[in-house]
Amino acid sequence: MEGRGALTHSVYITRTAVVTPLGEGSDALFTGLMEKRSGIGVISRFDTGKTASSFAGTIPLLDTVHGSPRILDGSPRILDGSPRILDGSPRILGLTDILLDQLGKVDQDTRLIVASTKAGIENVERGENQDALSKGIFMSGLTDYISRKLKLNNAGININAACASSTIAIAKGAALIRAGAADAVLVCCMDVVSRFVFTGFSALGAMSREPARPFDRHRNGLTLGEGAAAVLLMNSARTKESAIELPVKISGWGIAGDAVHLTAPARNGMGLKRAVGAACRMAGMDPVDIFAVNTHGTGTIYNDAMELEVLKSIFDPDRVVANSIKGAIGHTLGAAGGIEVVLCKKMIEKGIMVPTKGLETPEKSAGKMILMEPAILTQNRILTINSGFGGINAALLIEGISWNEI
């Protein structure tokens, strides 16, 4: 039992929403991954003739409606009294609308944390930088948009930490609740496939010509993707009061830097090891007691090698199983960690770890750790990890609970 005066508060995930190239909702994501379907295809929204790849994980609806005014599927699924319209506005707002429609209403005092790396960049592409404030070119335009849509009493903030953005955003939301500074925090994570980012990763030589193959011996880069996730966090009092579905608990989190290289991970994974160590310490357990890990698994040579090094060295390689979903939906950048947290909640509910799409010939050092087929979860906890540019790493430990444990 916790009250306002408790030293620290437990943090629960009470509701989620998710949109990925595999469909809307966590069931669509889970089922698609279980069936090893791919949401990756040839991109049509811009010319890829001069880029290293023509593949991306995109959401077809965002291409269908972009640029032409219409009400999505004719049904005014609404939050604020107005129909959902994409009248040539940025895809990121269309994606946000789909996400918030799925999420539904939240309490007005819910604190908002958004996680996106390049929201608003589509406006730069259109050259709409002359009146940046009114065009919502800045990240804060997105937080403001979400806050107004949900009628929240706070403007919200965006956490930007490259590909670890949403993992860190969820950790910071959890920190607010743990400290008693908020009873509920909504974390909304999203990024879209833009020409800006696509050409950039191509120029860096980080993209795979074919759809990404995480942890495969023949992997040669990442595939970009787009998506969004919403994760509603609550303390125990608010959870008891308003949670409808059985929540999961965030029992630990950790964030650490490599301080080695701007665009490449530390080969020995020291930053990620420290992030995992911190998450486990907070939860009062040792990494060897964790048997399921949702990895970042981008499909680049160095990221996957680094994660394998971490998996081998701090977990029990004979017991731990791990997966990556980026071979199925692509690397959704700032949304990646959030989507994976939603998936972790679903995998805990189902008691199953989904397999790694695209993995055919596992890296030698992977042993049997990386799942090529679904596996039964032997515990009701999953560690999820992400890393990003600037050498930043983050880990979240998600645990299944029963109602009477809250």
Binding site: T117, T143, N160, G180, F196, S202, L204, A259, L262, F389
Partner: protein, 258 residues
Amino acid sequence: MKFNAAITGLGWVGRRSMGRPGNIRELETVGGLPEIRRKDVLPRPYKPFGRMDRFSKMGFAAIAFALEDAGMTGDSSPKDIGLVASTWTGCMETDIDYWRTVLQNAPSPALFAYTLDSCFLGEASICFGLTGEHYVINEQCCDGRSALFFALESLCMGPSKAFVCGICNSGINFQGRTLSLFNALGDRSLLTAELIKKPCREFLPGALFFVLEPPGEDSLMMISADSPQSIYDSDNHEIDDIFDLVIKYSPDMGILNQ
């Protein structure tokens, strides 16, 4: 839960000056952002500095000055120190520079690498061996209070020994207004109470960072917080803006009581 820390360092870069208390240097500003040379910031050669974009150089330099003020710039050996920055504009100018290269059919990987708002924190972490957490907070009212709160929370609850936190904004010209409080730092005649009260988005361009450490017996300046909206100084006065702390922390800059 209330979190406490001592302020042990301050550094900034504005349009006209940069440095730390007791060591203020004048600047030439070209376009929106000030021109900063490596030797203005670091005593030793450091190759990556030259390839950074101007937004990153600005944030990096302010962090370097703050660490110098706190006596923490000795070497690049690993130190469990975290970094957090609030920004409204982010690296907008770099985004536009990169996009121009795309339109010229020659996307620049060197520029693209700096089109994340958090890159300068990564650069600072590498140069100074800061292995704590680092991330940027984008917010419309970039008053620095969110960054202060999360730094305090992490310092008190996490493994970090110290935290560098502050704000960093580029110099996009909004409706013809670029005059900023950063202009005034180091030039007392420009800093007025009226200017301080203006919305934070007028504090452009510039970067301002503090170093926070656990409180000690000899700590001169303390801050405390129990939420991002409730941050207090040593005298238990509520802080509306990170600039309130500059005035409290650094009377030797001659900007106290103006």
